[in-house]
């Protein structure tokens, strides 16, 4: 416990979020994102997307959002990516790993994406003063409880997002029905 760490804790800075963790995780996320869009084999691209999802979940942990990180790992990396891998194996695109990767108008797509990137860069350079960092260390231990209060309500009242929560479960029901009907051989 050196006095420098004590000063950092007293001044309200986040004690556990060292910049090296951020740069490593952010670099890993962007690198595996590049791998997702350039790999030839679809299974390799799905594995690269799993690496991206896990590094983004670690970035959520750095942002004091442990519940969203847990939901991301369990639902996104553990559910949606497994669904993708099942469909890749069903569709059996062994042949497509020997075909052309990019379509014929790829320069136009790349130019449009570069224009979008230029727009983002100009927004960050010009509007840097808009994103003032308050730097408050949010308590992690009550994060799940507070999200549950917003979603489910407490003490007989409905939460702020209880209605949206019920609509989301209805959305999942409709999506399950749609997926089952789409994949039946005879409706």
């Amino acid at each position: 416990m050196n006095p420098g760490m004590n000063a950092a804790l007293n001044s309200g800075m986040a004690p556990v979020a060292t910049p090296w963790f951020f740069y490593a995780l952010a670099g890993l996320a962007v690198l595996s994102g590049v791998l997702v869009i350039t790999l030839r084999n679809a299974v390799h691209a799905a594995l690269a997307l799993i690496v991206t999802l896990l590094s983004v979940a670690s970035l959520y942990l750095m942002l004091y959002a442990p519940f969203v990180a847990g939901v991301q790992i369990v639902v996104y990396a553990g559910g949606i990516m497994v669904l993708f891998l099942f469909v890749i194996m069903l569709v059996n695109i062994e042949r497509s790993s020997k075909e052309r990767r990019f379509n014929r108008i790829w320069p136009a797509g790349l130019a449009a994406a570069c224009a979008l990137l230029a727009l983002f860069v100009s927004a960050f350079v010009k509007g840097k003063a808009l994103f003032m960092d308050r730097g408050m260390p949010l308590p992690e231990s009550s994060n799940t409880q507070q999200i549950a209060t917003m979603l489910y309500g407490e003490a007989g009242r409905m939460g702020q997002y209880t209605f949206a929560f019920e609509i989301a479960s209805l959305l999942l029901l409709v999506a399950i029905l749609g997926a089952v009907i789409m994949t039946k051989k005879k409706i």
């Binding site: 996320a29 994102g33 996104y76």
Partner: protein, 108 residues
């Protein structure tokens, strides 16, 4: 070392977003296009959670509206991935291809 501010997370989210857009526009394989859409949704989630951290507290409690929004987006991504892959399977049963430029049955 400069401390990590909100703009750092926004830059990472913007990079992931642009990579997802490039993947949607460039790749021929439909499954990889759907995976690029998941990249876009993850970039938006990272933006939301970074802003929820930036806005501090409200009524004395932590302002977690961005995180709740991110949870709803994850739910929506699951529903959309299921339906999109169902459509892909239904189409693959007819035409045996997963390339977007060969899925052109409307111009008969």
């Amino acid at each position: 070392m400069v401390p990590i501010t909100t703009v750092h997370y926004l830059v990472v989210a913007a990079a992931l977003f642009v990579l997802g857009v490039i993947g949607v526009l460039i790749r021929r394989n439909v499954v990889i296009v759907l995976m690029s859409i998941e990249l876009i949704l993850n970039a938006v989630n990272l933006n939301l959670v970074a802003f929820s951290r930036m806005w501090g507290t409200i009524h004395g409690q932590a302002n977690l509206q961005g995180q709740v929004f991110a949870i709803f987006i994850i739910v929506d991504a699951a529903a959309e991935a299921a339906v999109g892959l169902g459509i892909l399977i239904a189409f693959f049963r007819n035409k045996e291809t997963v390339n977007v430029d060969e899925i052109d049955l409307l111009k008969w």
